[in-house]
């Protein structure tokens, strides 16, 4: 067990990484979500919350994700579907965590002929696309503000401004 000390003298014990390594592939993710959602808010101690968050991230990057990658690279289609379902859920909650798996999902999407696997891959990849578009839009919004300033100062023509504005609105839609 991994021991965490609370400021009030209390102790929280969480299962160790060596034990987690032996679990079914989707279980580390369920565990991480369970502790984050149900237990962290009950400890009433910011320091311990941070330490446990860090530990959970370590489990995710050192165990959960590498094991999922090995499943995605394998041949067991039922296991692949279960793992894809979990990745989809996680991608919608915290996309950064599943970024290391993106290339494996793309590869699987191209390789697999099975409808359910393609559908699950599509759902995950569309979450990535939505995220990328959000970033592009934020960048464009920044540029647009600058263009508006320059237009008001008469530094650019109305033609240039309306062209940029049109591009921005298309992207927004």
């Amino acid at each position: 067990m991994r021991i965490f000390h609370k400021k009030d003298g209390g102790i929280v014990q969480l299962v160790g990484k060596d034990e987690i390594k032996e679990w079914p592939v989707e279980l580390p993710l369920i565990f991480i979500e369970y502790i984050r959602k149900n237990k962290l808010p009950t400890y009433n101690d910011k320091t311990i919350e941070k330490e446990i968050e860090k530990y959970l991230d370590e489990i995710l990057t050192e165990i959960a994700i590498p094991r999922m990658i090995s499943v995605l690279d394998g041949e067991d289609e039922t296991e692949i579907e279960t793992v894809l379902e979990r990745i989809d859920e996680l991608a919608k909650k915290k996309l950064d965590l599943v970024k290391p798996i993106k290339s494996y999902i793309e590869k699987l999407d191209k390789k697999s002929n099975k409808k359910d696997i393609s559908k699950a891959c599509g759902s995950i990849l569309s979450t990535f696309i939505k995220e990328e578009n959000k970033k592009k839009l934020a960048d464009k919004r920044k540029i647009m503000r600058q263009i508006e300033q320059e237009f008001l100062q008469g530094k650019i023509s109305d033609k240039e401004y309306s062209k940029a504005r049109k591009e921005y609105l298309i992207m927004k839609e």
């Binding site: 067990m1 102790i11 929280v12 969480l14 299962v15 279980l27 369920i30």
Partner: protein, 395 residues
């Protein structure tokens, strides 16, 4: 008598917990060494157990080829072969071996039964299933005749494979329950033992599927009686005093003792027992403490040698002013049982325990946990337990 303004900080219990944590860090390097004159038993997973069965069968076949007179050897489980290991405070099985010959008329029925159980164990392990002792009996009623015979063969099989009964996938029926600050996983399900109501989680006999995943408890309380467990559960005792409560409704069966052992070992928590102040209550405590004679070969996996007897002690009856009307006179049988306990080496070694039992014999009185209700229903949860856990008043 109970005062709601009293604030018990469980100082002594917390200190003990800290000691265990510090000691564990040191002990992790040193594996527990059992006396050389005792047999070593292993807790095996499915693959290891199957491998051991194959090796065992191979050795029998080899003997058939060699001299045509096969036999099996297993550690003797007679009283004379049970050794009390003072250092680890455990009852263990000595190295006396007995032989059962296939060709002897006296042992042929016994051998057939043992081999039938072995066949069933092999099947259970291959299919990754678990069966109760009763199911094993019903798998060949005519052969076993009586469940006593199949039960004995189950123990024979476990001991001749030098493993625990749980490793053979033959389990006891679910009996005990557990509630409090603990999260476990049972295969792919995460179970929160704080969120199951007062009834708690029924301790699964299939403990190889169970794993402790989180806990913020600071001690474990083992309760003899369901009624006392109900009182504590109703008070949500674990919310105010971070703990795990466990009951077996009497003597703990294999699953309960094994689960307690695992909780204590993995979480390094102090363990306390709350039993009736009578010889049977003390006997129950002793079973948790150092194992039973019948299952002595499994003691290292079932006993919790650091369990403390929190109560109810004979000396508590005066200290907490239990009225005479709530005290019960001991009968002859009670006195005999108490005297028998006083003759046990593990009691003689523990002077405080010996003193308390001697006091019981002297006063010839006993009392149930419920006797505290004479001071109000909340006395047990608001005063007796917190005070003892704070002051360190245990044996």
């Amino acid at each position: 008598m109970a005062s709601k303004s009293e604030n018990w900080d469980l100082k002594a219990t917390k200190q003990l917990f800290q000691e265990y944590l510090n000691r564990n860090l040191k002990e992790q390097k040193n594996k527990k060494i059992l006396p050389v004159e005792t047999v070593e038993i292993d807790d095996l997973n499915k693959t290891q157990a199957l491998k051991r069965i194959r090796e065992f069968i191979d050795s029998i076949i080899e003997k058939i080829y060699k001299d045509g007179r096969p036999s099996i050897f297993l550690p003797s489980r007679t009283t004379g072969n049970i050794i009390w290991d003072e250092e680890n405070d455990l009852l263990l099985l000595g190295k006396q071996i007995m032989e059962k010959q296939f060709h002897s008329l006296a042992s042929v029925a016994d051998i057939t039964r043992v081999m039938k159980v072995l066949e069933k164990v092999n099947e259970l392990l291959l299919k990754d299933l678990h069966a109760t002792k009763r199911e094993i009996f019903y798998s060949a009623v005519t052969l076993f005749g009586d469940q006593k015979n199949s039960d004995k063969c189950i123990e024979d099989v476990a001991s001749m494979l030098y493993t625990t009964r749980n490793s053979t996938h033959i389990v006891a029926s679910a009996k005990g329950s557990c509630v409090g600050r603990l999260r476990i996983r049972d295969r792919n399900d995460i179970i929160d033992l704080e969120g199951l109501g007062g009834g708690g989680w029924t301790i699964s006999p299939m403990l190889d599927n169970v794993e402790i995943i989180e806990s913020d408890a600071e001690f474990i309380l083992v309760i003899e009686k369901d009624a006392a467990m109900m009182r504590l559960a109703e008070a949500r005792f674990w919310r105010k005093y971070p703990c795990i409560l466990l009951t077996a409704q009497g003597v703990g069966n294999v699953a309960v003792r094994m689960f307690l052992k695992r909780l204590s070992k993995e979480l390094n928590l102090p363990v306390f027992s709350l039993v009736d102040s009578d010889p049977y209550g003390h006997y129950i405590h002793s079973i948790y403490l150092r194992g039973s004679k019948r299952l002595s070969y499994e003691s290292p996996f079932l006993a919790t040698p650091n369990i403390k007897l929190l109560g109810v002690l004979t000396r508590d009856l005066d200290k907490y002013k239990i009225p005479n009307s709530a005290r019960i006179p001991m009968n002859k049988q009670d006195i005999k049982r108490t005297t028998d306990l006083l003759n046990e080496d593990f009691v003689k070694k523990n002077k405080e325990w010996e003193q308390d039992l001697k006091l019981a014999v002297k006063l010839k009185i006993k009392a149930e946990i419920q006797a505290f209700s004479s001071h109000g229903f909340e006395f047990l949860t608001d005063r007796y337990l917190p005070e003892k856990l704070t002051t360190g008043d245990w044996i």
